[in-house]
Structures are given as C-alpha cells and as structure tokens.
C-alpha cells in the first residue's frame, strides 16, 4: 500500500517540478498568456496628462509642429457621396489629404490610380504618398465611410518617433497574424512605410497580385508584408484602455452600450478622445462634424497642453 502511494507522490512531485520549469521558460500551455509580450506589442496610448505637463513650452511647440499627417482616402466612384462628404468634412483637418480612386470621376477631383484591384491600389497609393510626403511623417489610410478626428490622432502619436516603425489602429487576430482593421483606419509612421515599400519589391513574401484561389483582404495582406519587415500591429487606446479606433458608427456603439450598460451608457461606450468611427453615412458625418468641432456646452473650459488651429477656408468647423 505504502509503496503504491509513494509512486503516486513521486509522480505528483515530478509533474509539479515539470510545470514550474515550463512556466519559468514561458513556453507553458496556451492557458497562460505572456503579459509582457502583449505589453510591448499591443497597446499604444497617448502621453498622460502628467507627462504632458512636464514638457516645456518649446518642446510642446516643437512636437505639435512635427506631428503632421498625410491622409490617404481610398475611394471609388461608387462611393461618390461619401467621397464628397469626407472632402467637405474631416479630411480638411489633415495636413495633406489625397483621394486615391480606382477610376476618375467627373464630379470631383481625385488621384486616379487606374486600378481595380484593391490591394494593388493600396500599394500604389502608399508609394505615391511616400514619394510626395514632403516633411509629413505620419500616414493615415481610411475608407470614405470612416470619420476621423485628426487632432486626437496627433495627440496619440505626439510622443512617438516617426523614424521608428509604427502600425496602429484597432487590432484583430487572424490565426498568428495581428492586423489593423481597415474600417477603423490605419496609422503608419514614416519608417513603417519606408520598410513596407522595400518589402513591396519581394514578390514572394509580398506579392502584388495574390496567387491563391481566394483573395486575402488588403488589411491582412498589408499586415503580412509589414510583419515580414519587422513591423507589428498595435492597438490604439486611451488612458483607461478604451479603444480609440472604432469600426462601428457612433449610434451603433451607443446602441450596443444601451444594451450592455444601461446605467452608464455614454461613459461605458466610447472614449472622449476617440479617433475614428466606421460605417458612417454621409449625413451622419455632417452631424458628427458639427458634434465634434462645434456643439458644446457653454462654460466647460479645457486647459489642453496643445493647440491645434482650425483649417483655412472652412465653415463647418
């Protein structure tokens, strides 16, 4: 009896030692996530209020001037009304905005890429943007169904070095691949784009025309090419961990929150510093433009550390 018990105990002890050793090497079973790996690669937040206050006036001014955004809005004539609306609303807040289209439209100006394939179009647009960036160091890629608040984007990347590779947005996982969702907007630093364009030359790792029978969506193709160049997706969040990039519209998010958090709908829903909302109709975008840049309660004053001026020749902000 005793020797049977001791066999079991020996087994128990050996198993325990085995687990301890494995967890030490962090290659333990999938139930345990490596927190530090997540921290390094996944969550990207803006400077905290305290950190901002530590900066001097001249540092602040320098940072504000350096963080300049080139917006690439990927349009097609089918989305003409959205195209026109984006042109009339949030894109005015980019330092430079170009509407890259699959084919030209008589109704509105855009950069005609003469390309029907979405991935090929995206590649061409990114190349063009990089070559015409001037001194702009941040790139923002969006569809015209997305609304973006560029000031909040600038706030997020203010202290990030654009000569480092950054690939930011709302991240999702597809198998082993972390990618940024297209509908909530994609942010790329200058260095990320430089590496990407180098990788475009590699027809094996980053082909222009997919050879598979099914087509991988551009957002995943992009993530793959970036991954090969050592650039990894990061999730943009505020100080409370709320996502700043949303692929749903404001009313959709509010509606969800009413179901999940009826006592605290707005607080639980979305960040005050949200950067994007996807799936917006043209009239929803006009209302959001008013809601973001104009509608406010008298007597609530914010003492922000940065100043962004309104764009010239604009009457709806």
């Amino acid at each position: 009896m005793m020797s049977e018990g001791s066999s079991f105990m020996k087994g128990l002890i050996l198993g325990g030692i085995f687990c301890l050793v494995m967890s030490y090497f962090e290659t333990f079973n999938p139930g345990v996530h490596s927190e530090s790996h997540q921290h390094l690669h996944h969550h990207l937040k803006p400077l905290s209020k305290d950190e901002l206050q530590k900066l001097s006036e001249s540092q602040m001014s320098e940072l504000t001037q350096q963080v300049r955004v080139y917006c690439l809005i990927m349009v097609t004539p089918k989305l003409l009304v959205h195209w026109v609306t984006v042109n009339d609303t949030w894109s005015k807040h980019c330092d430079k905005s170009v509407f890259y289209t699959s084919e030209s439209s008589k109704a509105v100006e855009g950069f005609d890429l003469q390309e029907q394939d979405e991935w090929a179009r995206l590649r061409k647009a990114i190349k063009h943007a990089y070559e015409n960036a001037g001194d702009l160091r941040w790139f923002f890629v969006a569809r015209p169904t997305t609304f973006a608040i560029i000031e909040n984007l600038k706030y997020l990347v203010l202290d990030k070095d654009s000569s480092q590779p950054f690939y930011i947005g709302h991240t999702e996982k597809s198998g082993e691949l972390d990618y940024v969702e297209y509908d909530s907007g994609i942010v790329l630093s200058y260095e990320a784009v430089r590496r990407l364009i180098e990788m475009f030359k590699d027809e094996d790792k980053c082909p222009e025309r997919g050879r598979a029978l099914w087509k991988m969506p551009e957002e995943k193709q992009l993530a793959t090419c970036l991954k090969y160049s050592g650039v990894f997706a990061e999730n943009g969040e505020d100080a409370q961990g709320k996502g700043l990039f949303n692929k749903k519209s404001t009313s959709s998010l509010i509606s969800d929150s009413m179901g999940q958090n009826p006592a605290d709908v707005v607080e639980a829903c979305c960040s005050d510093m949200a950067i994007t909302f996807g799936g917006m109709s043209p009239s929803q975008m006009q209302v959001l433009m008013f809601g973001v840049y104009r509608l406010r309660p008298y007597g609530h004053d914010f003492h922000d550390s940065l100043t962004f001026l309104p764009p010239k020749d604009s009457d709806n902000d």
Binding site: L12, C19, I149, M258, Y293, F302, L306, P310
Partner: protein
C-alpha cells in the same frame, strides 16, 4: 503486474500535478482585472474646468418640465432623466398620472387633444408650487434634447421680471408669432405670472388643442413678447427637428416643408445651427445618448474653437 501498477500510479501523479497547475494559473488569470475600471459616477475629465457653467447655474436658475405620459416613461423619459434632465435646477416630469418615476399627476387624460390642457395645468402647478424656486421656466417634450448650459447663457442677458418668452419662432396663426412646442420654449417669471393670470381672469381660454399655438395666443393677449433666441451670428439655437435635417449642405431651393413656418429666414447647411445650440427635437433614445456623447464627451484635443461669443 505490481510494477505496472506503480507505473500507472506514477503517471497519474504527473497528470494530476500538471492539471492542477493549469487550473491554478487559469483561475489566477481570470481573477486579475485587465483594464482599470473607470469610476461609475461622474467622471471629472482631466484638465476640465466647469467653473463658468457652475456659476451660471446659480445665477440663472431654470425649472424644466417635461411633457410625458405613462407608456413613455421607460422608452423615452428615462433617457431624458439619464442625460440632460439632471442639469436643470429643478426637473418635473408632467404626466396624466402621478408615479414613482417621479411624475407629477395633472388632472387630465392623455392624447394629442389634451396637450394644451396639460400645458395649462402644468404651468398652473408650477406657478402654485415653484414660482420662487427658479428664474426661468422651460417646457420640453420627452423627445427633446436640451443643452442647459447654452440655455442659461442665452437667458443671462435678459431680465426675468420682463414679460418675455423664447424658443423657435414660428409665424402663422399668431400675429407676433409663437414658439414651436417640440423645440421647447422658456418663459420668464413675469410671462409665467401673466399666463396663469390670463386663465384665472378668463382672458385666455382653452380655444385650441395645439399647445404651442394656444400658448402663443395667450402670450400675445397678455402682452408677453416673443424673444429672438438666435446667437450673435443669427444662427438658431432651438430646433424642432434633429440635426441631420438642417446641417447637410443643400443647393439653393424653395423652403422644404419643415421650414415653412419659420419666422426668421431659414439657413440650410452649417449656418443653420449655433455652436451653442439649445435644443433638438424628435430625438429617440439612441439619439439622446449620442447627442450627450457629442456635447459633453467627444472632443478634438487642443482644438481652438472658431466661435467665441464672449470675445466678439
């Protein structure tokens, strides 16, 4: 046979040990909160000063009454209460029945034909119980969204002892015009006194079912003036329809049906609406919280707003 038995026991020991470790680490992970839980009560935004708004709420006291009914309490009125209702100095929910919502029970029945009766009874109730509790008296529907701070700002330059009332000015039926009921309207203390006196003396009667037209006629009878609620750039502050009716740009065109009653020349597109808008109407539950989010939460960091009425 014995060796085999020992072997099995040994392996079971290893298996049990491994399983226990997995379970332990799994449990540990679920217990650890991943995000900081934000405070459930009012979150004071960083670097925000509400001093000016607070001062104004003490100088310009507003009593709000919301026209509602029992079937709307859960679908509509609740969302008023969760959003702008709490910003009034006093908020009263007027219904045909008293309830724990809490609602004030007026001695009327429900229905569109009863709206003017409800209005009359509501103002009589307020005059009787709350005349000295506020400076201005706002009427709104249970699907109206109101920005109280902007209402107070607009009223701050006016004297509540004068016979005045403000809202979205409509033209027909009443010579001096009248205020749209849905967009909400606000009476000065003297206007409230005169309205109640009008009914007490028989100068005003229930001569229509339309509460806004009816009230407008009584105001005219009692020599209460229609104020101009537009901002310094002549943009409207009270709106009888949701924002998406007014904001999208339009080619020059004849007045659409919802702008036919306008007293002042209507403007379509961005010039329709003041930055310091006071109200929007026909706002459903989702719309209430969305406007709450746009007005009080979502903002462009560091943005220097164009419209600064105090510096003009």
């Amino acid at each position: 046979m014995r060796i085999f038995k020992h072997y099995i026991l040994f392996l079971s020991g290893v298996a049990v040990s491994v399983l226990l470790s997995i379970t332990y680490s799994r449990v540990l992970r679920t217990l650890t909160p991943t995000f900081a839980m934000h405070a459930r009560n009012t979150v004071w935004h960083t670097a925000e000063s509400r001093r000016a708004a607070l001062d104004l709420s003490q100088k310009v006291r507003v009593l709000c009454w919301v026209m509602t009914q029992p079937p709307h309490l859960e679908s509509r009125t609740q969302h008023v209460r969760d959003t702008w209702g709490k910003r009034c100095n006093i908020i009263l929910y007027m219904s045909s029945k008293e309830s724990d919502f809490p609602t004030v029970g007026l001695n009327v029945s429900e229905g569109r034909s009863q709206l003017y009766w409800k209005t009359i009874r509501a103002f009589q109730h307020i005059h009787k119980h709350h005349l000295d509790d506020a400076d201005w008296f706002l009427k709104a529907d249970d699907d109206t969204f109101v920005v109280l701070e902007n209402l107070r700002y607009g009223l701050s330059k006016h004297n509540t002892e004068e016979p005045l009332y403000f809202g979205r000015r409509f033209t027909p039926f009443v010579k001096q015009g009248y205020m749209s009921g849905g967009a909400g309207y606000v009476l000065s203390k003297e206007a409230l006194r005169r309205f109640v006196k009008g009914f007490a003396d028989g100068l005003c009667t229930h001569n229509t079912e339309l509460e806004d037209t009816g009230l407008g006629q009584c105001m005219e009878t009692m020599r209460v003036r229609t104020g101009d609620s537009r901002d310094v750039l002549r943009r409207q502050t009270f709106h009888p329809y949701p924002p998406y009716y007014y904001l999208p740009r339009q080619l020059p065109r004849p007045r659409p049906w919802y702008l036919l009653y306008e007293h002042y020349d209507p403007v379509e597109g961005p010039g329709c609406c003041s930055d310091l808008a006071i109200s929007f109407h026909y706002i459903d539950a989702v719309g209430m919280h969305t406007l709450e989010y746009y007005t009080y939460h979502l903002r462009p960091y560091g943005y220097k707003y164009r419209f600064n009425p105090d510096n003009k």
